[in-house]
Each structure stands twice: as structure tokens, then as C-alpha cells.
Symmetry: C2
Subunit: 298 residues, 2 copies
């Protein structure tokens, strides 16, 4: 059931429908920039390109940002596409909502660079941030879709190395189960304009090296030991095939005694905060993230 009213999603659905996903990684990477960058970044955002421990990255700050605290932003795109350009409106407005700087990463993509290349890049950037003087409790890690997967992988990597955890995690439409086993894969197949089983399986196969099963907790954090998870906010659209990747993650986090929140936004689609220029619910989601980040950042 979809609304055709004031929630604005039809504009985004029309955009996506007008630019169907092509075949070929290069073409897909161009398309995600087109659809993610369909509306311009706000004119008052200041940018700074930076090498974050060997990883191309970009600082962004809205006026008045507290530069002693950081959102480390990890874009989505199934680990095979997505970039600074595709996610700039989401990353910059998230930073504005939290009143802090954003560091967005251009981590390496599959299939050229399968697991663990993206995790290696995220860890390198994290270590670089620490060396820049940002204590872990001054950093919130956030991302959408595969970026949520990567945020969980980064947190686990830090935990297992005995390193301090980020202050909080922000996961938007996270892809947590690379076996593509959630019931919502089918339940929401007809209403999700972006992600369907065959494509998700293609992405998983491109990202996960042979020899690692797709239910390995290194690539599917849904099946990981989540002990010690920092406070986590999960936001997801009701019209997503990945709805159950969020619902099940939250349940698993609860059983691991995490402070975890799930907010389901009606009529919204995968990674909807990308389109905050036209979606009131996206702006509400970013505002909620901002309050959440302020609550948990030291």
C-alpha cells in the first residue's frame, strides 16, 4: 500500500523509474551519482578534500559545526558502487543535524576490491582520525545500506582488537544479511523500487571472496556476536525489501544487551535520507540522528 499524498516519495520514485539501473559496474556507478545527486548540496556547506590514512575522503561542515566531533560517514551502494558524490547531500545534512563535522570516505569497491578492502579502508581512516586527535567517544559512525554493514564491520574490528568503540552507530537501511534471507525480501518485493533478490545476490557474490560463506559474520553482521555494540540507531523505510535486515539486527542487538532503536518510516524506500531535499521524512530522520548523536557523543 502506497500513499500518493504529501510525503513526497512519488517524486523520488519517478526519478528512479526514469533512470533504471543499467548493466555493468561503471554504468551503475554513474547512475547512483545521478540519482543520489539529483538535488544539489546546500550552498552553505564547506568542503575539504583530504587523504585519510591513504583513503580519499572529504570533510564537510555546515556553519557553526563543532569541529571537535565527527560523523564518519560510510556510503551505500552494495559495496560495488556509491561514492562521495552520490551521498553528499545525505552526509552533509547529517553533519548539520548533529552540529558536527562529517568525514565521508571513498573506500575501495568490489568487484575490483572485494572484502576486506572496504574494511581495511574504514579502519585506516578511523586510525587516521584518532591520530588527528579525535578520541573514539567523539566519533559516531554512520552509513546507509552497505555502509551500515561496513559500520558494523568496523565496530567489530575495533572491538576484537581491543580498541575503543565509536560513541554510537547510525545505520540507515543497513544490509546486514548477505544471504538475502529476510522474509521482507519477498514481502516488499513489489513495492521496493531499488533492491530485489537477484541484484542483492549479484552484489554479495561480487563482494564476498570465494571461500567465505555469505553467512560469515565478517560479511553478514546479522550473524555476528554483537556483544558490546555501542548505542545504535537504525532507520529504515517501510517499503524496503531490506526491512527485515533492520528488524532482525535490532532483535539480535537486544539479545546482546545493546541500547538499540529502530524507527520505521512509512512509505519510505531504501536509503531515503539521500533525498532529504524533497522528503520531509528524510529530514525528520536526519533530525532524529542529530539528537541521537548529541546524546551519545562525549
Amino acid at each position: 500500500m502506497r500513499a500518493t499524498d504529501e510525503n513526497g516519495i512519488d517524486v523520488v520514485r519517478q526519478l528512479l523509474g526514469a533512470k533504471p539501473r543499467p548493466v555493468g559496474w561503471a554504468e551503475r556507478r554513474a547512475r547512483i551519482v545521478e540519482v543520489g545527486g539529483a538535488w544539489p548540496v546546500a550552498a552553505d556547506i564547506a568542503f575539504e578534500t583530504v587523504d585519510a590514512g591513504g583513503v580519499p575522503a572529504e570533510w564537510s561542515r555546515a556553519p557553526g559545526a563543532d569541529t571537535s566531533r565527527v560523523l564518519l560517514f560510510l556510503h551505500g551502494g552494495g559495496y560495488c558502487s556509491g561514492s562521495l558524490a552520490s551521498h553528499r547531500t545525505m552526509a552533509t545534512e547529517a553533519g548539520r543535524a548533529a552540529g558536527i563535522s562529517t568525514l565521508s570516505l571513498e573506500y575501495r569497491l568490489a568487484p575490483e576490491h572485494p572484502y576486506p578492502a572496504a574494511l581495511d579502508d574504514a579502519r585506516a581512516a578511523w586510525t587516521w582520525l584518532e591520530r588527528q586527535g579525535f578520541a573514539a567517544d567523539r566519533i559516531v559512525v554512520g552509513g546507509d545500506s552497505a555502509g551500515g554493514n561496513l559500520g558494523l564491520a568496523l565496530w567489530r574490528d575495533l572491538r576484537d582488537a581491543g580498541r575503543p568503540a565509536p560513541a554510537a552507530l547510525w545505520l540507515v537501511s543497513p544490509w546486514t544479511d548477505l544471504t538475502v534471507s529476510g522474509a521482507s525480501i519477498d514481502d516488499n518485493d513489489a513495492i521496493d523500487p531499488l533492491l530485489h533478490r537477484a541484484y542483492l545476490e549479484e552484489l554479495a557474490t561480487a563482494f564476498v571472496p570465494e571461500g567465505i560463506p555469505h553467512d560469515d559474520p565478517r560479511v553478514s553482521p546479522l550473524f555476528a556476536d554483537l556483544t558490546g555494540l555501542p548505542p545504535t540507531l537504525v532507520q529504515v523505510g517501510a517499503d524496503e525489501t531490506l526491512l527485515d535486515d533492520s528488524v532482525r539486527l535490532v532483535r539480535a542487538a537486544a539479545l546482546a544487551e545493546a541500547d538499540v532503536r529502530l524507527h520505521v518510516f512509512p512509505h519510505m524506500i531504501h536509503a531515503f535520507p539521500l533525498w532529504n531535499a524533497v522528503l520531509p521524512a528524510a529530514r525528520a530522520a536526519l533530525g532524529e540522528f542529530g539528537m541521537f548523536a548529541r546524546t551519545y557523543l562525549a
Copy 2:
């Protein structure tokens, strides 16, 4: 896994352990008043006893409360126990957090008064509130445990009668599945100090008349059509057997295109906001409810 640290829950667990649940409804009703009323109500709350359409009820207001908006509070106790007295600290502090009046209901209890007596009472009080001049969008309906079940039943009753819905629903540890089928019934059996399968089944049998199956949506809203559900905040403890009553309700509400949030509080137990005098997480939960209510009340 439990913390034994600063979260305060051990004090509540000791209270509950020192007053184990007796046999017999009268004895159980006395016990829930003892454990729910173990800490006094704040001295600055003003009370007013009232007949709310034939239902014994109690207004409460903290200083400065906006008396044009109401929390209609429905206590828990498995539909067989609970009262104004047992839930006074939760109901009054929830009203304070939202900055509004609270109307708490003393609805009729099973087994003397099985379904639909409690719903009839809640509807009568709702109608009385409307006749007092409170529009539906000035009322938020909240409750814990069976009170969450009753809140959902009241909302469905209004919807099915074509009447306006409350502005929002607040469900704390709601009991949504009277078939007692959630996996957390077993997963959390060892750490939940209050609710276990045999007791839940005893309550369900006392409440549901013969001839109504326990999965009937009238008594188990988890299995109901949730179309039109108003914005809903669900709060639950991680250490509850009823965790999955919340998780599954939120999933069902998402598929019905509701604006729904779930917050799981680590180390907390069933209906933990009752003990806000000693639990920081309970005060945080009430504060979150207050922000939520302010967002959605007209």
C-alpha cells in the same frame, strides 16, 4: 548476560525476589501494588479522583501541566491485576515528561471480568474524554504490558467504528501475542524475573472467554490488521520474555505503513518504567515518551 553496575536494575530484581508472586488473584493484586508502589509518588503531583464514563479513574498533573492534552494511561498486570495504585509512579511521571495531564483508568479485571470488559471500560473513558472536550488528536494512549494490548484494542475499536484515532500510541513492554509464541519466551526465560510461559498462559486463559481463540486479533493485536495505526512508540527491556511481542508488533506495524519506533533498553526488565525512582533507563524512557508525545499531540 546481566550488568551488576550502575544501571540500578539489581535493586528492582532484589525487590521482586523478596516478594515472589503468590498464588491467588487477590494475593497477586496485592503484590503488584507492593512492588509497583515500592517508591513513593513525587510530592508535587496533584490528583483528582473522577468517574470517567462509569469507570473509576484518576487525573494527575505535575506543576505546569498543559491541561488541554491528555495521556490516557492503561496499566498492566496481565488483565488480571494492576490498578491505579500499582502504576501511579509510572503514570504520573509519564505525564510530567510530556507536560500534560494523565488520566489513569481502573478498568475491570479478569477472571471476574474477561474480554471485552476492559475494552468496554477503555472505550467508555475515551468517549467520556471526548465529551469533556478533548479532541482525539489531543489524546495519547499509553500503557504497559496488558495495558499496551488494551491500548491497541482501543485504537482498533475506534478505527473500526470510524471514529478519530488518538494522536499517538505509547506501548511499554506490550503483550501482543496471547498465544505466547515469541522465541524470546524461551530465549529470555532465564533472565526475566517476572513473566514465564506458564503464568502468561494462565493469564491468557483467565482473560479470553471460551470460544475466542488466543490468536484472535481482538485479544492478540499482533495478528490484527494494523492499517491506520497512529504514530507508535514501543519501549521494551532487553531482558524480557516478551521482547518478541514488541519486535514482531513493530514489524507488523511497518508492513502496515505505520510510523513506528522500537527502543530496546539493555538490562531492563518487563515494565521497567514502573521503577523510575531508581532506574536511570526508566527516566530516559519516560523522557523519550515525553518528546514523542509533544511531537504528535495537536
